[in-house]
Amino acid sequence: MSNSITTMIEVVGLKKSFGTHAVLRDISLEVPKGGVVALIGPSGSGKSTLLRTLNLLTLPDSGYIRVGASRIDFTAGQRMPRDRELAAFRARTGMVFQNFNLFPHMSAEANVMEGPVTVQRMKKPEARALARELLAKVGLADRAEAMPEQLSGGQKQRVAIARALAMKPDVMLFDEATSALDPERVAEVLAVMKQLATEGMTMLLVTHEMAFAREVADTVIFMRDGYVVESGPARQVIDHPAEEATRAFLSHFHHAAGAGA
């Protein structure tokens, strides 16, 4: 039991293929409670698929996933989990998407209230207070009434983070949360993510921001072709990669890493 208290995310032997193309080949990893793990690697390496399987948006072919106290076993031959089980599992993990995916027909505040009200059956006044508090936390107290189309990319992504936090998740998953942003908007989102990490949120992020990964993450995992090639303490992997493949990949980011150091 001590293991389940200290380890927030546990993945064993995860495999996923799309048709004949194997995207995840036997992935295992652990994230301690309060840990921040950055997944890096070239596009097509499977890192985004790995993140999506952790929220069951993509169902793995086999393997075992545990987040907090919720566990799902995808051992071959077992029946697929039902909609109800999937939903309950997902409610415990917050997810932030590259393209924000805010609900365009709802105000910023309503976006944040949606999960607590619809899924957790929270009373509206209570949910509204929670939404206000979270919007203030991401620096958008004054934009609660704004519709998504009236917000900048950085503001949208911060609303999306508040929306995920409203479910009081055990972990937060960030799928290239800053990749769709204008360069001048990246910092405001990273600042919110860094604050969350400081507060002890367990986080798993797919990112191309090497400076950020080096500074904020405890562990960096380098993936290629569906394998974990190398993983270790962030500074060690980014500054002194052991594998040639990692070194080759990181050489594209030299400036970014240098600027953040």
Partner: protein, 219 residues
């Protein structure tokens, strides 16, 4: 041509005309509601990916989309009773036909509206822990519905016009009453002009409303 226009005799038939207009409107509203229900069921079944459900419904909706509604109407009234051994009254046969005909077209509009919603919206709803019902009700349908409204209105305009075919089965709709009045008065020019004008007055607000909505949404 030296024709003396005279609409005044129509006043004598105002009860008949009023009744016809009510039948036309009533059938439109009824079959729009039942057609939308059938349309929703076909659309959702086809989206469910459950083959034994989706395929028969697709076959039925193609059958109704690819045959003339007049043929369906006549078939349903004269042929279907032989198959099922139960005589159908003209209004019942008309109701079934227009429901299925409208429903088959509504289904395509509804299905198209739903699949036009970005996959990211489904992801975001699922990530919050929503199950399929909540996801549809709170996220997908409200967005899809806005896109569906103009084509749904257009289909309902067609639905109203198609009720004029009911006169073939002697359902006393607007056109049928016009035929009655003509045979009694021998004044088809005024009578059928009036019938056309009433259809026009009923439908113009609908088409203008749809155009307005469309313009507002493309902005």
């Amino acid at each position: 041509m030296n024709y003396q226009w005279d609409f005044s005799f129509l006043l004598e038939y105002k009860t008949l005309i009023w009744q016809g207009a009510l039948y036309t409107l009533g059938f439109t509203v009824l079959t729009a509601v039942s057609g939308l229900t059938v349309g929703c069921i076909i659309a959702l079944a086809r989206l469910s990916g459950i083959r034994w459900l989706a395929w028969p419904l697709l076959a039925i909706s193609e059958l109704f989309r690819c045959t003339p509604v007049l043929v369906q109407l006549v078939w349903c009234y004269y042929a279907l009773p032989i198959l099922i051994g139960v005589n159908l009254s003209p209004p019942v046969a008309a109701f079934i036909t227009l429901t299925m005909y409208g429903g088959s077209f509504y289904a395509e509009i509804i299905r198209g509206g739903i699949i036009s919603i970005d996959a990211g919206q489904w992801d975001a709803g699922r990530a919050l822990g929503m199950r399929i019902g909540a996801l549809m009700r709170r996220i997908v349908l409200p967005q899809a519905f806005r896109r569906m409204v103009p084509p749904l209105v257009n289909q309902t305009v067609l639905q109203l016009k198609n009720t004029s075919l009911l006169s073939v089965l002697a359902v006393p709709d607007l056109l049928y009453q016009g035929q009655l009045i003509t045979s009694a008065t021998y004044r088809p020019l005024e009578t059928y002009t009036m019938v056309a004008v009433i259809y026009f007055i009923l439908l113009l607000p609908l088409t203008r409303g749809a155009a307005l909505l469309e313009a507002r949404m493309s902005r």
